[in-house]
Amino acid sequence: MTAAAKIVPAFDAQKARGDFPILSRQVYGKPLVYLDSGASAQKPHKVLQAMTQFAETDYANVHRGVHYLSAAATDAYEAARRTVQKFLGAAREDEIVFTKGGTEAINLVSYGFLAPRIQPGDEIVLSVMEHHSNIVPWHFLRERQGAVLKWVDVRDDGSLDIEALGAAIGPRTKLVAITHMSNVLGTVTPLKDIVARAHAKAVPVLADGCQGAVHEIIDVQALDIDFYALTGHKIYGPTGIGALYAKRAHLKTMRPFNGGGEMIREVTQDIVTYADPPSRFEAGTPPIIEAVGMAAAIDYLMAFDRAAVKAHEHDLLTYARERLRDFNWLRVIGDAPGKGAIISFEAEGMHAHDLATILDREGVAVRAGHHCAQPLMERFGVASTSRASFALYNNRADVDALVAALAKAREILG
């Protein structure tokens, strides 16, 4: 064998595509072109297999029994926690709290960490490109406790105005809540810079990593970030599971969110004392099978050269951007340097929902609407956009199908 024949491509997208059973199905008699991974990613066979196998061989409730299976299930659940720890680069496994998703992770910070620290007039800094799940929990504190939301704008290309963010952090700022990657614009935020600016004023930072964790390589220690939220179903894992990374020092001061089993040290008729983190924040029977599934998804993702995966997704983005340039009736929203593999656009004379309906009949699944980011829609003066989001299993043929379907939509609606 020659040396050249031994060279394996860093990331074989076509091979990876075969890992996802659903991608071989058809819709309306046409091959499925799935460009909605930003809403939820498809699951590789390995993840589904890991969940089934666990349920068939090692399943019981966790942390409760003395019997064999209870120990096996607890081991699997805690191993899943270590997998998330490794994925995020956390120093300790007990800095990982399992939640039912990214939304719950952010709400946990709002309720457990920030609410007790808020006096009327205290400020929370956030950007206009946040997802509603990184907005509404802070609105709660505005409504209930008189917190003030300080909105940081994005530039016209969708990049974060980092100077404005720095300037928005003042003596009354209690938290910076910022997306790692916008689910509409694809903009990736400079977390390290943000954290440095916030910490210089002793303000903690929460990153909404629901999109960022899919595409970026994360090291919470290097970032020195205080909180990082992620959700399982977007990283090729199951629904019903997510995680919050929080620095140990913060977790220790946080009040519990839900009360119930698992999260206590002792309960009497008069008093209750709480378990140490992370159990304190995991009341009730957790999503055990889902935790195992999320760990399998992370293992799946980490087995690839992630820089190569990112390069592949970036290639798709660049290719899509080029091909869409042919349509002068189409306006792409979000062109920030270094953005991730999400492309949102508005089509002249075509409402996003009409467009998405026509694409759908061509087998092309895109998202249309406000993407749970209404303040951002307002910022760009649009009611809604269409969005194609790319995952590791997409290829250039998917982009071609999108372009062909767009041409058809123009023919029908234009």
Binding site: H353, T357, H370, M377
Partner: protein, 154 residues
Amino acid sequence: MDQSLRELYQEVILDHSRHPRHFGALENATHKAEGYNPLCGDRVTVMVMLDGEGRVADIKFQGKGCAISQASASLMTEMLAGRTRAEAEKLMEGFLHLAKGEEAPGLSPDDREYLDVMSGISEFPMRVKCATLAWHTFKNAVEEGKNAMDEGVT
């Protein structure tokens, strides 16, 4: 090309969506309601002037939305002008049946034929709400000017 798409986005529908009839403000409206579809952010305001006998003397709508919601609102205003409230209600009922792909026995042959251009929507269950928004909003307007948003538009 998918036949059901051609049917949904047929020329009549596109024409109504691009050149909606009865579009604008109705200065002397007696009834008015706003409809909102939180799913897509589409909004429609329906303004009605009922005469002494409860007949739709004039009707107008305003709003922004997809081709389906705009065309449906436009067609609706054309149909409702001159009708009594009872007639309007029967029309709406018939339309809701058509939108779900059901028979609409209560409709006169003429009305049935007129509404037929919208019946393609039944093949697109995710879009039925777009087509029914204006009708629900009209109903809310004539019933004490309620807000369609509070009604959980279906």
